[in-house]
Symmetry: C2
């Protein structure tokens, strides 16, 4: 069973400090043979991980050593930012080589990550037809569209072919994709009529017509659809691959589930990161680099906090008279903030999965308001009771109870209304919502608690 | 092109209020023919969406109408909670029918969602060998393991077979999975030696040996691996399918990328939800139900807020003398909270993707501390300056600056240390971290700002 054990071994590679140190020493001594062997022994994904884990200055140094040979697939496995950095440091001959050896979707990704000068240089060094194909897709389809992640290599046969003819064609034709999960059946204008999975071709007799065994209801992706939407459809309809068509319903490429796994992971992860104000970060980014990346978000939050403080400032007279107000006010603001974050997180997912429709929107906004309101009532009792046994002041209990209800109902409402409104204005709700929502719950929390203090406590 | 247009049409079904109302009316009048047609006209995924959107009381009513026929696949497409609810309301005959008509992975999922009594009833009504297979997997592999999401139907051939023999076997054998992406090559003990994709079988001549064209380095999944880990491997290595083996390295099943899409989506989504204190929620859950689900998290947060208030209470004397302290203290706490949330969100993803190793852990903790510290220095200047122009009090500026540095450095450190420690103690860091981290940043924020006030302001 050495085969299996070995295959499992190779795949569960972990980047150790030892392997990094060893590599760094060999980079210092420009031992190109060791470096090439090191990378070529690994699976592309693991090689990319190793490459990501070398400190930046050694990585740059390594890339400039003559004779360096890194498989094109390794570049593809790098995360986007690192891929950009590395590509733009490689000589254009090297990049042209990489582009020529990749499947179309990956070649496209590489070209997209080049800066303008590099792109022009590389285009001069690749076959004209490849260049035209890439330029066409770049021109016709925006970044983030389905066409940008499809591969233009696919397998299609005319509708009148039999299983036997198809198999013979597949055996004899050289320039076909290395692997394909389905074979498209197309009309004379290359418009897909249906598709047959490779396994179904295998299981049918040679004289069976492809048209008879094809699946007509196969989902087709439009090239200009957003890739996140495609991810959603793959997940929803359990697809392993799907054809991509252009505006005239002609087949232009194919997307497979392994590409979608990355899209789906990134888009869900991105939303969570955006909500917390984190940009694309690399595990190898230096503390200074990360500090810079997180600075903007913290600055925006400083504004929010200052607005809240400014609001508190209006009621300094009340606080001077009753210090308990200062002690208790963070409770009201914090409960509102947490209730709003719950609603917000759910809403951002509902928007991302297109589950909010004009049909159900008002019902769900209404519901979130009531969830906030109900929890407000529950916590007004709990907090009121607790404050009574702390300060033995019934009026103070009443005050915190009332402001709790007001703030938590507002939290529920703004937690859904703000991301929905931002989304309508084409602003990414995951990025911008938290700031607005927190401001609302802070301001409403402090105003209701400190403002009503005059009325309830008679100060 | 009617085929394509129709297929796209069918797939972009949206649940409208009209269709729901119409269905409810037909449930009321027990018009079973309409109901059956309505569900059978739809793709299983869309049918499940429609079913999820009917209010609970009508759904229960509908399930009890005689003659109701819902395709087994529809049940599978429901989210887990709803699937449980519905299954346990159906008669056991009906469930046995569903189990018999599903592939093994889905049948297993259905059985897992039955309560004990129902399970025993259903087991009496399905073929013994199916029952044994299900019971075996249930006994040997825990919930959330790879074996629980695999299908036990797969396609394997002996190593000495040729492509021709394989194709003949596939054509002649009835009981094979409907679709398969790869054919495993196994030894006499059913241990996989490698695998050949269906398309590679198609592209090779009949006399070629399977062993010659097989891929030996194919990743094999152990049945007891966590399904999230499997999702991570699929994404990392761009897999569309993989074999599952038992402790003796024998092939026991197969997992395909379409199942993994759901695993990956759910696990990423779950982490984001857990961080915000949201449990599994349904778009059709009532406000009362959601209020209950969110209540616990808010209660925990109330404790956190109370601890912070209690800390403020210690310094009521200082606040009484300088009201500006009450006005400014939320800024220090809020900046710490936000900085910690950034670190926490990143750390939870690092833990989920197993990117933190004993090798890099201390380096990264150190880095996060410095990110907090650096941003603390930047914001101590910004906030100090701004406070000076608000209160014209240099000592107050100095005070907020110093406490800002202390709190943000603590935020960076606790934002990573707390989830890492929780993870070591086998507590899910996504669920529990936020509470602890917020408590730390609140307490440190208030203590440093209010506590140092005596020293800086001489009060």
């Amino acid at each position: 069973m050495s085969n299996i054990d070995q295959s499992i071994e190779t795949r569960t590679f972990e980047v150790t400090q030892e392997s990094i140190d060893q590599l760094i020493n060999n980079i210092k001594s420009k031992n190109i043979e060791f470096i090439n062997n090191q990378f070529n022994d690994l699976n592309p994904s693991d090689a990319a991980e190793l490459l990501s884990n070398i400190p930046e200055k050694f990585r740059v140094k390594m890339l400039l050593i003559d004779g360096l040979q890194i498989k094109p697939e390794v570049i593809i496995e790098l995360n986007n930012q690192l891929q950009k950095d590395i590509l733009n440091k490689l000589p254009s001959d090297n990049i042209a080589d990489i582009v020529n050896n990749l499947e179309s979707d990956n070649a496209l990704q590489v070209v997209t990550n080049l800066n303008e000068d590099k792109k022009i240089e590389v285009f001069e060094k690749i076959p004209t037809e490849d260049k035209n194909l890439i330029e066409e897709v770049l021109k016709a389809y925006p970044e983030g569209s389905a066409a940008r992640i499809m591969q233009t290599e696919y397998c299609a046969v005319p509708k009148n072919w039999s299983v036997g003819e198809t198999i013979d064609y597949l055996r004899e034709t050289e320039e076909l994709p290395k692997e394909f999960l389905q074979i498209f059946v197309v009309d004379e204008n290359n418009r897909p009529l249906g598709s047959v999975s490779s396994s179904r071709v295998l299981r049918n007799p040679r004289d069976k017509k492809m048209q008879e065994i094809m699946d007509e209801a196969q989902l087709l992706i439009h090239g200009d659809w957003e890739k996140e939407q495609v991810g959603y459809l793959f997940e929803e309809y359990n697809l392993v691959s799907a054809g991509v068509i252009d505006k005239n319903n002609k087949l232009i490429g194919m997307i497979t589930a392994d590409d979608i796994l990355t899209v789906l992971k990134e888009s869900t992860e991105e939303d969570a990161f955006k909500l917390a104000g984190v940009q694309d970060e690399e595990i190898t980014d230096s503390a200074v680099k990360i500090t810079k990346k997180r600075f903007i978000w913290l600055t925006i939050n400083l504004f929010t906090a200052v607005i809240a403080s400014y609001v508190i400032g209006f009621f300094d007279g009340n606080i001077e008279k009753v210090v308990a107000l200062a002690i208790l006010m963070p409770i009201v603001a914090s409960m509102g903030g947490n209730a709003a974050t719950q609603t917000l997180t759910v809403t951002v997912r509902l928007i991302a999965t297109k589950s909010l429709t004009s049909e159900n929107l008002f019902k769900i906004i209404n519901k979130e308001f009531f969830v906030g309101f109900f929890n407000g009532i529950l916590f007004s009792f709990i907090t009121g009771l607790f404050v009574y046994f702390w300060f033995y002041d019934f009026k103070l209990s009443l005050l915190i109870g009332v402001s709790m209800i007001i703030n938590m109902a507002c939290a529920g409402f703004s937690g859904i209304a703000i991301p929905v409104i931002l989304d309508r204005f084409k602003i990414d709700p995951a990025v911008a919502s938290t700031v607005f929502v927190t401001t609302v719950t802070d301001v409403v929390g402090f105003v209701s608690f400190l403002g009503l203090a005059g009325f309830f406590l008679g100060i």
